[in-house]
Structure formats: C-alpha cells, structure tokens
C-alpha cells in the first residue's frame, strides 16, 4: 500500500479537553458538553472561529438514559460553528469511529479542524441512589406494561439478558475455557486501573483496592464481579482532529494518526460472531498493522477500553501486544502493564475507576501522556508511539498515534 493511500496520516490530534467529571453532577448535559469542547479548542491553541467540522458518537439519543449528552447540531448551534463537514452516528467502529471519520474529513479537505466529542450523564440519569444500570442502545423496556421486544433485543430480553455485562461475560467465559484464563489474572485489569486512578485527581474511585477486595466483591455475571464493570458517570470529553499541515504551529506537538483499525471480519453481531473468544477488534487490529511499518513492539503505551475488564485483555491480543490467548499471563501480577512497566495500560484509571466516559477518555489520556502533561500519573518517559482503542462486541476501533 502506497503511503499516500493511508490518508489518516494527513490528520493529527492537536488538543484535548474535558468538563468536570463526577459520579453524579446533576448538571445540564449540554453545559458539560460545551465545557469539554471549549477546553479542547483552547488546549489546541484554537478558537471557535477555527473549528470547521464536528463529529460525535452517538448523536442525539433518548435511551438509554444519559447515554448521549448532546448531538452535533446542539454544539454546532450553541457555539455558532460554521462547519464544512459534520456527522454523528452509532453504527461505526466503536466510539472512536467518530474520530476516524474526522480524520477522513480533514484528509479529504472537507474540514481543517474538527471538534470531536463524547458526552455522557449516565450517573445523574440513574437518580440519587442509582438505579437500573444502562442497557445497550436498542434495549430499554424493563418490564410490564405490555412492552414487547423487537429488533435485535428480542433475542436477549426474553432471556433476561439485557446488559452488555452478560454478553461480554460470555465472551470472557469462552476465553477462560479455551486458554485457561483465571479471575486472578483478570483482576489485574481492575487493580492496575485503581492504582493509576489513585494518582488521577479527576478519577471517580481513588481508594486503594487489593486482590482480596476484588475477590470478595459481589458477582454480577460470571466471571465478572462488581469491579470488572465500569462506573456510570457524568462528563464530556473532546478532542480536536486537525489536518497536519495546519497544526504545525499550534500549542501541542501534533500526534500523527499513523494508522487506524476499523474492520469487522465476521458477522456484525454479538452472539453470532464466529469466534466467541474474540470480538470485532480482531479485524480492527489486523487492519491497523496492515497500514503501517510500525510493529506492536514499538508501542510504548496502550489505552484500551475497559467497559468490562476482559475487553482490555481482548484488545491486548487483537492488537498483537501479546499473543492470542496469552493476555492472562501477560497481565498477571500487573508488572508489565503498570505505569512504569514495559507497556503502561490505562494510566488514568480506565472506565473501571475513572468513570465511563465511553471511549473518548482513553484518547484523552493517551494524548495527555504523549504530550507529557500527565502530572502525578505521567509515564516517566512520555511515549512517542501510543495506541488507543475503544469498543467491544461488534463495535471496535483503534488508533496508532505518533508524536512529531
């Protein structure tokens, strides 16, 4: 493949920003969204007049409650943005699919600086004391009143399987069966996240967690216990995707989008996917490495989605950062993946401890680390090459970033 064909390289990440983040903030979700967006624009050294594109995941959605704090039009209008290109949508390669779309937009010349954002208020939406946990888009219902399941949820709801916790648990169980993976290994995703969150002032849960704490937690859906499940929260994350030739003199060194991985090779389904020990990330990982001369061994940092802990293990394998089936031994003991280990993972605490900012939190953290702006939790040597991946099941996407 000719380098000129890999047009995502014409794009870079030039700034990131976040709103206040909390378990339950009870703030206007649009206000949080705009706070995050303005923070990212300023961080890049731009103004709203420079922004000529907007991209978001998933776009406006009423259910599940709190799943989407604002749509593209909301932000475009509130900031009076003049956009050469804009898009939102759920059916893409994970939450970062919206960032990939922005890369293609700037590479094509339809826009120069694209504001990308993801906004959630699932914490507040569950009410004062918490409530029914979010179920996947297309779900809902919840009983009685003559509600009938249709579409793809008819294949889950009648069996009392409304949550991605159960669906992903069955992938994890299959992985345990095929490769001998254990809960003691899985635990290290949660324990590593928590020890990193202790150093992140914006994380939701920062108290130390031990293996005993983990093993004593109540089960949700085997093999997942409470600490294998991410934390609904409120907050908005934004990133600026710029055309590289327009980002040379901005505030931060451009993080070149060296390659993206967005492919699905298999049925776009959770339970009909051919191999239940992996997910759509299998294709995304292969595609990413087909588009670059870099190798997995070059990666100095990995920010890998942990909506449920096992998803991080699955991404480690799908991206070739360890062998297929070898993620259990790879993470066991937590030495390799610690902040000053050979492959730091989820240095902000992941969604497990820093809150379910839904994919974009990993990109925010990856960029922050590569720019050396991580404060107390900074990786000792800011990575030059980092990988960021988000999503699970049938919706997975990854970015390989290189600091210029």
């Amino acid at each position: 493949m000719d380098e000129n064909d890999i047009i995502e390289r014409r794009a870079c990440i030039s700034g990131v920003g976040q709103s206040a983040i909390g378990r339950r903030l009870f703030r206007d979700p649009l206000e949080l969204t705009l706070d995050g967006c303005l923070a990212a624009i300023e961080h890049a050294g731009l103004t709203t007049d420079d922004i000529d594109g907007i991209s978001t995941y998933p776009g406006p959605m009423g259910t599940p409650a709190g799943f989407s704090g604002a749509g593209a039009y909301d932000v475009m209008d509130a900031l009076r943005l003049q956009c050469g290109w804009y898009a939102s949508g759920l059916e893409t390669s994970g939450q970062l699919g919206s960032v990939v779309n922005a890369c293609l937009a700037v590479a094509s010349g339809l826009a120069t600086h694209v504001l990308c954002f993801r906004s959630v208020y699932e914490g507040s939406a569950q009410g004062e004391k918490g409530g029914r946990a979010a179920v996947m888009p297309g779900g809902g219902g919840g009983g009685g009143g003559g509600f009938k399941a249709s579409g793809f949820m008819q294949w889950n709801l009648p069996f009392s399987a409304p949550s991605a916790a159960i669906w992903i648990a069955m992938f994890a169980q299959r992985h345990f069966y095929e490769y001998g993976t254990t809960r003691e290994q899985l635990a290290w995703i949660a324990l590593n996240a928590r020890r990193n969150a202790e150093l992140n002032p914006n994380a939701i849960y920062r108290d130390p967690m031990s293996m005993d704490d983990y093993m004593a937690a109540r089960m949700i859906s085997s093999p997942f216990c409470l600490y294998d499940c991410d934390i609904p929260c409120d907050g908005a994350t934004a990133v600026i995707v710029s055309r590289r030739d327009a980002a040379k003199d901005l505030r931060n060194p451009p993080l070149r989008v060296e390659a993206v991985g967005v492919r699905i090779d298999g049925r776009p389904s959770w339970d009909q996917f051919d191999d239940l020990s992996t997910m759509a990330n299998r294709g995304a990982g292969k595609q990413l490495w087909e588009r670059t001369e870099y190798k997995p061994a070059d990666v100095q940092m990995a920010q890998l989605y942990d909506g449920f802990s096992w998803i991080t293990m699955s991404w480690l394998e799908a991206l070739g950062l360890c062998g297929i089936g070898e993620s259990g031994p790879f993470i066991e003991g937590g030495e390799r993946i610690k902040r000053d280990g050979v492959l730091p993972v989820n240095t902000h605490g992941g969604q497990l401890s820093a809150g379910r900012l839904h994919g974009y939190g990993f990109l925010h953290e990856g960029a922050t680390q590569m720019w050396g702006q991580g404060g107390d939790r900074q990786i000792p040597t800011p990575p030059e090459v980092g990988i960021v991946a988000a999503g699970g099941g049938n919706t997975c996407g990854a970015l390989l970033l290189v600091r210029e």
Partner: protein, 145 residues
C-alpha cells in the same frame, strides 16, 4: 421435551410477533424449534432476513430442527437487571447441531449452576407464556442428548 411448568413461570419480556419471527417464537406449541432455511442451498438463517446470505435466494421456508445443541458459552447472572427468573440464573449461547453457525442466546435450565460447562450437550425445552397477541413458547435449553 418437557414443558417447564412445575414451578411458577417467571416474568419475561415477550417478543413482538411478526411474520418473520412467528414460527420461531410459537413453534414450541408443537415442540418444534423452527428456523428459516434456504430451500435452494439448505442454509439455516438466523436471525430472520429476507434472503439467504449465501446464495441470495428468496426461496425460504421455516423448518424444524432436532432441538439439540451444544453450549458455546454461558454466564451465571447474579444481578437483578429486570424482573425475571430467580437469581442466579444462567444465560447461555448455544449452537444448534444442524449448523453450529446458528447460535441462540438463551437460558440454561434444569442444570445445577456448578455443572454447567462449555461444550455440554443440550436439548430444547419450551416455556409457555399465554398472551393476548398470541401465545409465546420461549426456547430454553437443558442438559440432554
């Protein structure tokens, strides 16, 4: 095949019946697990769709399969997400023996929790839910050949 009626039938959200899914959700009235099948190439199609994904034929009919399956994976669910079976209950993905690429998310029933294991042989059993829009027979699976 037996009807699971010894204990109280649990609350379940029922599917909305359509022409495409009716045979699947009502076949249990005759103890039949039915799927759409391409009448040209023999491929079983699930979930229902208007044509065969293999040869694009629209010559499709529903046919009963044996009801035998193997357990591809499962999770013992402890979390009360919604009204439903008594906790904990087992959510399973099963593969039908006629064509393992056809999977169902379902529940493993009549099986002690600690005896569930991947690759175990299963057979279908139906849970009857009377409903004014048409009775539903939810296909569950239990150990057996």
């Amino acid at each position: 095949m037996t009807d699971v009626e010894e204990t109280a039938t649990p609350f379940r959200i029922l599917p909305k019946l359509t022409d495409n899914n009716r045979d699947f959700w009502t076949g249990g009235a005759r103890d039949e697990l039915r799927f759409w099948r391409c009448q040209d190439c023999g491929y079983y199609i699930h979930p229902p769709q208007p044509l065969c994904p293999i040869d694009h034929s629209k010559h499709l009919k529903t046919e009963a399969v044996s009801g035998r399956a193997t357990l591809a994976s499962f999770s013992v669910n402890h979390q009360p997400w919604m009204p439903g079976p008594e906790l904990p209950y087992i959510v399973a993905i099963v593969e039908i023996i006629e064509q393992p690429s056809v999977r169902l998310t379902t529940n493993l029933v009549n099986c002690p929790i600690d005896e569930a294991h991947i690759d175990m042989e299963l057979r279908v059993t139906f849970e009857h839910h009377p409903d004014p829009d048409g009775d539903i027979y939810i296909p569950l699976f239990e150990p057996g050949e």
